[in-house]
């Protein structure tokens, strides 16, 4: 038995591993992912395309479909005024009862979340009325129009079908739907890729404001590290299915530890500074069917040294307030479990 989570932990993910099982070798898109999410916290998840971010969040919200299989780990979820549940082993019935009211998700493909043959209003009314059975149809539609205005869509669009909306409007409708029933946890996967920055700021301001009011926590996935730096309390950086660095937004920007995180930070074209040709991170992302031995980043790493190709570094302290990194450069950092990593100190 694990000890009960401290009161303010909403989610405790431990050793979560997700494979896509197809013919041939399985694709391990999430490998041994461990983190906690505090109530009301915003955790950003950044990382390379194909590094397993969507896999992680669909696993968290238990929306994953075959061939995705959670092969190890647990997700302990403690909804307000309810008992802790392990989402990995929970029954479909329990999961259904949590959907929208406790855990809601904004999918990366907004089209998947919205039903293409239903008007927006009808879809909102469905979610609202499963949450609150006393709500009349008319009241639900009115509430839907209200929710749409909070994300900058005029209320007269409740009668629209998804294809009649622009890409960004669909995404915004998805966000409004996720917030509709006051959940404890909102998982957002690239929620604002198609939204202009003015609108993005407006929506995120709304999300922050509602969060203050309702106290939900957010897992926010985006490739847009600069946005996360401004929005998130803490950021997890993923590479090849693993969390390779986790820390506060400020630490991560000012003192990124992992060579991959540093590469990310240096790949932004500047908004104002003089332009020069940027080269990004050399090499290509690993094949998750046959990940490299040792540290998955070592083939592309400019700072690798003897042993990086054989030793898998684990996520451990790297100085700073709770800052974690999975890189052997920090083996000597205080608080590290030296026994695991001593062999590699040939530096």
């Amino acid at each position: 038995m694990t000890p009960p989570a401290p009161h303010d932990d909403l989610l405790r993910v431990t050793g979560l591993t997700v494979d896509y099982v197809t013919d041939g070798d399985p694709v391990r898109a999430c490998a041994d992912v461990t983190f906690t999410l505090r109530r009301g916290e915003i955790l950003g998840v950044a990382g390379e395309s194909g590094s397993g971010k969507s896999t992680l969040v669909t696993a968290l919200s238990r929306l994953q479909r075959p061939p995705a299989v959670t092969t190890a780990g647990s997700i302990e979820f403690r909804p307000r005024g309810g008992d802790a549940v392990d989402l990995v082993t929970a029954s479909p019935r329990t999961l259904r009862s949590l959907r929208w009211t406790s855990v809601s998700i904004v999918l990366q493909s907004a089209m998947d979340a919205l039903n293409p043959v239903m008007r927006l209003g009808a879809q909102f009314a469905d979610a609202l009325r499963t949450h609150d059975r006393t709500l009349s149809r008319q009241a639900a539609w009115d509430r839907a129009a209200e929710l749409l205005t909070t994300v900058g869509i005029s209320g007269d669009r409740v009668r629209s079908y998804p294809h009649e909306l622009s890409g960004g409007m669909r995404q915004r409708a998805g966000i409004a739907l996720a917030l509709a029933c006051g959940p404890d946890l909102v998982v957002m996967d690239e929620p604002t890729t198609a939204v202009d920055v003015v609108m993005q700021r407006m929506i995120l301001a709304q999300v922050l404001c509602l969060r203050r009011e309702l106290g939900f926590a957010v897992v926010f996935v985006t490739h847009d590290l600069s946005l996360l730096l401004e929005l998130a309390d803490r950021i997890a950086v993923m590479y090849a299915g693993r969390v390779v660095e986790l820390g506060t937004a400020q630490e991560l920007y000012e003192a990124p530890r992992h060579p991959y995180t540093r590469g990310l930070r240096d790949s932004f074209p500047p908004l104002r500074a003089p332009l020069r040709r940027l080269t990004g991170i050399p090499g290509s992302p690993p094949d998750l069917r046959r990940p490299p031995s040792g540290c998955p980043f070592h083939p592309r790493c400019a700072e690798r040294f003897a042993g990086c190709d054989t030793h898998l570094p684990d996520l451990g302290p790297a100085g700073g307030d709770g800052h974690l990194v999975a890189c052997r450069l920090y083996d000597a950092a205080p608080g590290r479990d030296r026994t695991v990593t001593l062999e590699g100190s040939a530096r």
């Binding site: 395309s49 194909g50 005029s154 202009d196 920055v197 003015v198 937004a249």
Partner: protein, 347 residues
């Protein structure tokens, strides 16, 4: 047609005063018109990149679809190498798409889900280049996948679209457009789901295509910094209209239109650092106002309800396009002669 005013060559693709209206249902039995694009004029030249930025829902995708021949304009004209594009029963002539390729905004909806990546890429090779030979097809598919950094190529070729992450799909969509070797590429947020390092790789790829092959490119994006990195000129849309355009450095460093200014100032800027986020987002919450309805757009300048500089004329008369020199122009009464003011003076 009038002769071109300068010695500039005929644009490869041009939109001349193009308008697109959509009929929608507004309520029970009543119909309304969405004025998605009005009076848009745009030239795309060989070897040049124009960035189209602007509000979500302002008509960028609609304009790209008009240019790509997927919609017929309600009025105005699309011209390919100076010749008006004719449509019969909503379809352009066959062969048009050999010259003009659109990369769709939604990578989830634009690949054939029943076929592997290989088939999705072979189709344009067969259709537009008549490649039939198995070995030649394999070679070209492999080459295309490597260009968009999907390696090992043979492994990605055999995947189905649903087995790919968002950013991987986006790159397949880019590869499919490149397979055609078009003269004009219309990229509708083509790299919005890629992390910064692969994004950079794609921007560098597009840049090479433009310098080496003379590709004309329209780059629709919400990422102003990436627009600045890649493009030559920027055009800004707001509520269905083009409101500002000109060389990128001037437009981004010193916007003429108040909306452009808002857009640039709202862009996430990692150089700004992880400062107090509540302040950053609070600034956005209420002051920015609501985006306009395109069914019933505001009279006068469409931005006036949100504009801090709005004066009387802005509320009643649409501002004309004003050229301010050096290829820059805007539609804003701050930069045009106010007809009401002059008439008062002459009275």
């Amino acid at each position: 047609m009038t002769a071109p005013p300068t010695t500039r060559p005929t644009p490869v693709l041009a939109a001349v005063d193009v308008t697109k209206h959509f009929a929608v249902r507004a309520g029970v039995g009543s119909r309304a018109v969405v004025r998605a694009v009005e009076g848009a004029t745009l030239d795309l030249h060989r070897g040049r990149v124009v960035a189209l930025v602007g509000e979500s829902g302002s008509g960028k995708t609609t304009l790209a679809r008009l240019l790509a021949g997927f919609y017929a304009p309600t009025s105005g004209e699309i011209a390919l190498e100076g010749a008006p594009v004719r449509q019969r029963r909503g379809r352009v002539e066959r062969g048009y798409h050999k010259d003009v390729q659109l990369i769709f905004q939604d990578p989830f909806g634009s690949l054939n889900p029943l076929h592997r990546v290989r088939h999705n890429l072979e189709r344009p090779l067969r259709l537009h280049h008549g490649v039939r030979d198995r070995a030649e097809l394999d070679r070209r598919v492999g080459e295309l996948l490597e260009r968009v950094a999907l390696t090992p190529a043979d492994q990605f070729a055999d995947k189905f679209p649903h087995e790919l992450s968002g950013g991987q799909r986006q790159r397949v969509v880019i590869a499919r457009a490149l397979a055609v070797e078009p003269k004009v590429l219309l990229g509708d947020e083509p790299i919005s789901m890629l992390d910064v390092s692969i994004r950079l790789e794609m921007l560098n790829l597009l840049d090479r295509l433009r310098t080496e092959d003379g590709l004309a490119l329209l780059y629709i994006t919400h990422d102003i910094a990436s627009a600045r990195y890649l493009c030559d000129d920027v055009v800004v849309m707001y509520a269905g209209e083009m409101i500002e355009g000109g060389p990128k450095e001037q437009v981004i460093a010193d916007p003429l239109h108040p909306y452009t200014r808002l857009l640039v100032e709202s862009s996430p800027d990692p150089a700004r650092g992880a400062r107090d986020r509540e302040a950053l987002f609070d600034a956005g919450a209420d002051d920015l106002g609501e985006p306009p309805s395109l069914i019933d757009p505001p009279p006068g300048c469409r931005f006036h309800p949100r504009c801090p500089f709005a004066k009387d004329v802005c509320r009643t008369q649409a501002p004309p396009r004003t050229d301010v020199g050096e290829g820059r122009w805007t539609r804003c009464w701050l930069h045009a002669t106010d007809p009401t003011a002059t008439s008062q003076e002459t009275e």
